[in-house]
Structure formats: structure tokens, C-alpha cells
């Protein structure tokens, strides 16, 4: 039985049928248990809700060093012994993205996170809501006037880019340039690259980093009322001042982290609405349901499918022994449909008890720091879109008729989201 399951295991990281329908794939592996050892890639896969929370909360035994590169890229060293903490730190620079905040461990993470946690407070988001409101009104009016749009590139991407740019205080002149750099880069977790991805001089994080360095230097001299000033002049909990380069890394990462994920969440939400006119009408009649709608989309089709951890020492997950050096794939998209946690998990139900406990934003120390912003910006755009239309439909000229839809998903093993979403918008 076990042997047979292994022989038929599809490769999550390369199989394009998995890309089209990751949910069907996750259900097919769920029968192997909420946590199992995959022989295909020599990693441990977690699909259970409880099991995922257990790993995500256990920062003692699991490092995030491999979160950006994913669990399938080989480690930059051969694990030795029952505790590889020192090896991870000695080779951190060789992990792809190992110097990004999501990859930090221990005190370094705690310190950087203490700075980020102050940024998207309710009062700060309220102060910026006016800009988000007026910009989304402008975009939606334009699209409704022309009868439809390609949502991802015409609305979602410029919208999330400008919102974070405005929040951070990126000068208007530089925003367009940032957009181009981001648009031309593959999404995180790219499945199409023939060589392993790298952060070369054209990668968005590197290009933007040089700009952010200038901003940080400037804001240390001339603080203003923006997040960049707050970041640039922040201190660590022990009272020390972070290195300017560290602030540059944080700001750049913040700018990049929310781009694909938020834009794709808009796509996933609006595709669902376009396919369910009764749901549209329900939300139009009572826009106060929109936040619950967003949470249920996050659960069923959040824009992050998985993240990764690396066992630092010999440990276990839900009783399964896991040796130091073992990469772990945490399939949050599978955990969010675990029937042990969610009654009737395949049904879309905005009234679920304790819905916001889904794992679309992760859990524990590395929980998405941008979630408060993502929720606000997606809510506001949906409010405008629903208020200004009587009917949102898929454009069948591009996506085919109902029952035979053609939808292209971004070729990423991390991100779940459409590359294009053509809509017809009736005023």
C-alpha cells in the first residue's frame, strides 16, 4: 500500500496539474496522514491543521531559514549531528533569501519584528484609508466606464503597489520605476525557471534596495510623517539603533512582500464573485459581510499555498520523528481544508465559527506582518467594485464558457493566483 502511494506521488514542485488544481492534489495526499514523509523529495509534508499549527508555533525546533527558497532546494551544507543551529548560521548567506525577515530566527527575528509590528496599527491604517478609498474609486470608475478590464494587471497590481508606496512614503517619481521592475520579475516560488532562482542585480529586491538606502539616509536626517521615517528612526527593544542597511532590508522586503500575495487575493476573491452572482447580490445588499467573505476566500483559496521550515534538531511532528536537517513543507492551503478542523471544508460558508483562525497568513512568530493592510485594501476595493456594478462576470471571450473555463495560474509553488482575470463589468 505504502509503496503504491509513493510510486504514484506527483511532484508538487514541477507537476503542472498540481498548479492548476492544488486542492485536488492536497486531498489526494491527505489520506497519508496530516504529516508524512515524502520519499520523492526527501522532505516531510504537513497537511493537517493541528499539525501545521504545531510546526508554525515551534520556533525552538524549526528554523525559517529555508522559507524563501522552499523545502525542495537542497541545503547549502550536509547536516551533521542532532543540532544544526551553528551550521545554519554559518551558511545563512547561501540560503536563497536567507537574509530576509521571513527567514530570520531567534533574537534577530524578534528584534526586527518588534519594529515591523508597530507599522500597520489601526490608527495608521485609518490615516491612510482616505488614499486607499480615493484611489480604488478612481480605478473602479475607470474600469466600469469602459465596460470591463483585465483585473490583475489593470487594477490589482497597480493598486497594491501604490497603496504600499503611499504608506511607506515612496516618492511619486520612483513608484512607476518600481512597478516596472516588479512586473518584469517572476513571482516568488517560480516553477518555470530552468536554473534555481537567484537574487541578481536585476531582481526587484536588489533594485529597490538601492533606492531605499537613499530614503533611509534621508529620513534619518529629515524625519517626516511616513512609515519610512518611523522605520529609519526606530530602535530595538534593548535601546540600540539598527544598522541602516538592516532598515533598508526591512523596508524593501515590506514593499515586495505584499505585492503578489495581495494582488492575487483580489483576483481569487473577484473570480469567485464573478462565478457566483447570488453571492455578489448578497454582498451588495449587505456590504458588512465583505470582511467575512474575504476570510472565507483566504481559507479556501488564500494566495499562499505553503511555506517551509527546517528542523534544527532531532524532533517530531504529531509523533512522527523528524531528524535535524529535514526540510518541512507546511501546506497551509491543505490545513485550511482539513476536515478534522473545518466542517464540510469544501463548502464556501462565511458564517463558519472561528473562521479567522485559518492559516492563510501563517501562525506564530512569522505570522504575516502585512495582514492588517491586506485585509483593509482588499475590503475597500471590493466595496467600490460591488457598489459601482450591478453585475461582475468573467469575460467568456478570454476564459471560455461556464463548465469549460480556461484560467491560467501563476506558475509558482508558493503563490496561488490567476495571471490574468478578464471581467465584464455592468454598471
Amino acid at each position: 500500500m505504502e509503496q503504491q502511494a509513493q510510486d504514484t506521488e506527483r511532484d508538487y514542485f514541477t507537476d503542472l496539474s498540481v498548479l492548476r488544481d492544488p486542492y485536488e492534489y492536497f486531498e489526494s495526499i491527505r489520506e497519508r496522514g496530516g504529516v508524512f514523509r515524502s520519499t520523492l523529495r526527501n522532505l516531510v509534508v504537513v497537511t493537517g491543521f493541528e499539525e501545521s499549527v504545531e510546526v508554525l508555533r515551534n520556533t525552538e525546533d524549526f528554523s525559517s531559514a529555508n522559507a524563501p527558497q522552499g523545502p525542495a532546494v537542497p541545503l547549502p551544507f550536509t547536516p551533521e549531528g542532532d543540532n544544526i543551529t551553528d551550521q545554519i548560521e554559518a551558511h545563512r548567506g547561501e540560503f536563497l533569501g536567507g537574509d530576509l525577515l521571513v527567514a530570520y530566527d531567534g533574537q534577530q527575528h524578534k528584534f526586527s519584528r518588534s519594529i515591523l509590528n508597530k507599522l500597520f496599527t489601526p490608527s495608521r491604517l485609518k490615516a491612510n484609508e482616505e488614499f486607499i478609498q480615493s484611489y480604488s474609486a478612481q480605478l473602479i470608475d475607470e474600469m466600469v466606464a469602459k465596460g470591463g478590464c483585465e483585473l490583475i494587471n489593470e487594477v490589482a497590481t497597480p493598486f497594491v503597489t501604490l497603496v504600499i508606496a503611499d504608506l511607506l512614503g515612496v516618492p511619486a517619481d520612483d513608484r512607476e520605476h518600481f512597478r516596472e521592475v516588479i512586473d518584469n520579475a517572476p513571482p516568488p516560488g517560480n516553477m518555470e525557471a530552468d536554473a534555481p532562482p537567484s537574487f541578481d542585480e536585476n531582481s526587484p529586491l536588489v533594485v529597490m534596495g538601492t533606492y531605499f538606502f537613499q530614503y533611509v539616509m534621508d529620513r534619518r536626517e529629515n524625519p517626516r510623517e511616513d512609515i519610512l521615517s518611523e522605520l529609519s528612526n526606530a530602535t530595538y527593544p534593548d535601546g540600540s539603533t539598527p544598522d541602516a542597511l538592516e532598515i533598508v532590508r526591512l523596508a524593501t522586503f515590506l514593499f515586495g512582500a505584499g505585492q503578489d500575495t495581495s494582488a492575487k487575493l483580489l483576483g481569487n476573491s473577484i473570480r469567485r464573485l464573478a462565478e457566483d452572482h447570488a453571492l455578489q447580490d448578497e454582498l451588495r445588499a449587505d456590504p458588512r459581510l465583505i470582511p467575512a467573505f474575504i476570510e472565507e476566500v483566504l481559507r479556501m483559496e488564500g494566495s499562499t499555498k505553503m511555506t517551509a521550515r527546517l528542523a534544527v534538531r532531532d524532533t517530531s511532528i504529531a509523533g512522527l520523528p523528524v531528524a535535524a536537517g529535514t526540510p518541512v513543507m507546511i501546506a497551509v492551503a491543505a490545513a485550511n481544508r482539513d476536515p478534522k478542523r473545518w466542517e464540510n471544508p469544501e463548502a464556501f460558508d462565511m458564517q463558519r465559527p472561528r473562521l479567522r483562525e485559518h492559516l492563510a497568513f501563517g501562525r506564530g512568530a512569522h505570522t504575516c506582518a502585512g495582514a492588517p493592510l491586506a485585509r483593509v485594501e482588499v475590503r475597500i476595493l471590493l466595496e467600490h467594485l460591488l457598489a459601482k456594478t450591478s453585475r461582475i462576470s468573467l469575460d467568456e471571450a478570454h476564459h471560455g464558457p461556464q463548465g469549460a473555463r480556461e484560467l491560467d495560474y501563476e506558475p509558482s509553488f508558493i503563490i496561488r493566483g490567476l495571471s490574468k482575470l478578464h471581467l465584464v463589468l455592468a454598471p
Partner: protein, 105 residues
């Protein structure tokens, strides 16, 4: 590093050491008290790190911001001793403080 007593939802009491360079939420979470959900990771947006603080220690804590106050207004079982643990850093004057976890409403 002060040690505090955490009263869990089942009534049991755990002694937890609190790193003065981290928050109370982080200390309780990392000590394995899973019922403290802390869903937002300390961003001051979820109120699921809500705790009740020993009144005798209230004046040793940093003051409450408007944002924390506003967020606490949205929880079910707010009391005069309510705080959001992600907003609290403790020093040695908090040694022995009792912190009671609260059911998420």
C-alpha cells in the same frame, strides 16, 4: 528576567520567564500555551492575545495606547484588568505577576 505565573484556561498555572527584550505575548506563546492564539503575531490588530493582569501590578506596565483601548473594546470579556499582551514588555518589577488567559469570544 522576571518570572510570571500564567493561569491557563483550564485553571492550571505555569511559571513563565519573560525576556525583557520580548513581549509578554511572545513569552506566553513560546512557552507553549497554545490557547493564546495571538493570530496577528503582535501587530495590534486581532485582540486574541487578550489577558487579565493582576491588579496589584497594573501600575508597573506601560500605559495603554488608544489603539489598544479601541481593540479591547471589541472583545467579549473585557475587564478593568484587560491588556493585550503583545503590547507589554516587562521588567524585574513584574516578578511574580499573575496573568490570566481569557477565552476568545
Amino acid at each position: 528576567m522576571p518570572s510570571i505565573n500564567v493561569v491557563r484556561l483550564d485553571g492550571s498555572v505555569d511559571s513563565v520567564a519573560v525576556d525583557p527584550e520580548g513581549t509578554l505575548m511572545e513569552a506566553i506563546r513560546d512557552a507553549g500555551c497554545d490557547e493564546l492564539l495571538a493570530l496577528c503575531g503582535g501587530c495590534l490588530s486581532c485582540a486574541t492575545c487578550h489577558v487579565h493582569i493582576d491588579p496589584a501590578f497594573a501600575d508597573r506596565l506601560p500605559p495603554m495606547s488608544e489603539d489598544e483601548d479601541g481593540l479591547l473594546d471589541m472583545v467579549d470579556n473585557r475587564s478593568p484588568h484587560s491588556r493585550l499582551s503583545c503590547q507589554l514588555r516587562l521588567d524585574d518589577s513584574c516578578e511574580g505577576m499573575r496573568v490570566t488567559l481569557v477565552e476568545v469570544g
